[in-house]
Amino acid sequence: MIKLDGVGQVFEGRAGRVQALDGIDLHVQENEFVTLIGRSGCGKSTLLRLIAGLLPPTYGGVAVAGEPVTAPRRDVSFMFQRPALLPWRSVLSNVMLPVEISGGDLDRKKYVERAHELLELVGLDGFERRLPHELSGGMQQRVSLCRSLIRRPKVMLMDEPFSALDALTRTELSEELQRIQMELATTIVFVTHSIEEAVVLADRVVVLTPRPGRLREVVEIDIPRPRSLGQNAHLTEVAQISAHLHALLAEKQAEIRPVDAR
């Protein structure tokens, strides 16, 4: 479904250039759930933006559903690291934005219903008419999550979607996300800083090295689904894999330097 071929990204700034990504080769299958981990600043968000077609790679090729990516696609949804809500729109109307944009006005009523369902799911029922600045950080993130789910996309790119949520909400929502993925046969690329979350959710965990972000290892997770965060049945397996991933991330710390600082 998603194919990355020797992809690299270099940012040129006034204070020098930064090599964010280098030589990424990755193939994500249809209906696969891939989680992406790596140290802060290693290029995870950049990688998602490349796949989404928001940024042309400095070199290498990106393809989604067999077509080279040159612009964003309707069937790919992107949940950004920051909530990015439109300040003048109420919660409900922010969630409805993708529907409006793709002109789903015929089924508007159906979608409004779905929006209400999603908002209830994330615990935001009763807040439909509020403006974003009246919400807490985590509430904003949940609105953004609902927005990325409303259009039932084929591919979902999610950049730390649960970072501002409490443990409990996180557990509930990660279970929900697995359910949705199975139901819709969605392909998901999911960035997280929680190793446990990465393991519990993923079919494969992709580990990036710090600057420049290169593939360090791709770990297959063979635990049967559904899996649950927190008190789950496969505690030892998860702990084992987590320890391994932890060790991977801890490698080569000394290299966390921008290119120009060398």
Partner: protein
């Protein structure tokens, strides 16, 4: 923790304070005349101006109405014409680079110098005055709309792009709305200019309107009458300005101002 008092929060203070400001201004004007013993042929007293107004309130209000209509029409036209041009400017760097010099060139023309030209082309009616208003207040609207739209945060633009929004959607669902507070700043600048524009338009080939009153008062060296007209213009300008402020409050409850 902000200091909230009756003066900053109450609704009546929002109306009373501006009026107080005006009264203070008038008092200052009077004081200046007394203090520097300014001759009445240069600057009449507020009293003389008020007396002039009371002499023929109906006539003067009638002229104010004429200028008001021209102002509103021209201002409306400027919005109707200016916003699409701003869209084009933001849409394309190339267009921006081609169009701005042209707009600037037209804008740099002292409008008073071409008022007679407009009359020659469009006669003695309302049209040339409305066009003058349009010319005068066009540029601030274009530039503040364009700058406002350009300052849309990259994050929100990326959001719309990731949703594969078309250019039109990007503009009407995001940029234009995001720019509205800045658009209103432009409108507030433009409305004062619009009022002046109507007067300049009336300086040539008009038989009514406050601009005509000002020129014709020259025929009788009636400085007080000229100032009565100017005072009416000021009042009109203030009312239109606060009308925009009100509209802004109604339309943009989300635009948080910080103090």
């Amino acid at each position: 923790m902000t200091n909230r008092s009756w003066l900053t929060t109450s609704r009546s203070a929002a109306v009373l304070l501006p009026i107080l400001g005006l009264v203070a201004a008038i008092a200052l004007w009077w004081l200046a005349i007394v203090a520097f013993s300014i001759e009445s042929f240069l600057l009449p007293t507020p009293g003389a101006v008020a007396a002039k107004f009371l002499e023929q309130p109906g006539y003067l209000l009638q002229q104010t109405w004429v200028s008001f209509l021209e102002t509103i029409l021209g201002f409306g036209l400027a919005i109707v014409a200016g916003v699409p041009i701003a869209l084009l400017i933001v849409r394309s760097v190339i267009l921006e680079r081609l169009v701005y010099p042209l707009l600037l060139a037209v804008n740099a023309i002292p409008k008073i110098a071409i008022a007679p030209l407009l009359v020659v082309w469009w006669g003695f009616g309302q049209l040339p005055k409305v066009l003058m208003v349009l010319l005068v207040c066009f540029f601030p609207i274009v530039i503040s709309t364009a700058q406002g739209m350009k300052s849309t945060p990259a994050e929100l633009v990326e959001l719309l792009r990731s949703l594969k929004a078309g250019k039109a959607q990007e503009f009407f669902k995001l940029r234009l709305i995001y720019a509205l507070p800045q658009v209103f700043t432009g409108l507030k600048v433009a409305i004062s200019l619009a009022v002046i524009g109507s007067v300049i338009g009336e300086f040539a080939g008009a038989t009514e309107g406050l601009g005509y009153v000002i020129t014709s008062s020259g025929a009788t060296a009636d400085v007080a009458l000229a100032f009565a007209a100017i005072a009416l213009l000021s009042v009109m300008s203030i009312i239109l300005f606060y009308g925009l402020v009100l509209l802004e409050h109604l339309l943009l409850p989300w635009a948080q101002e910080t103090r």
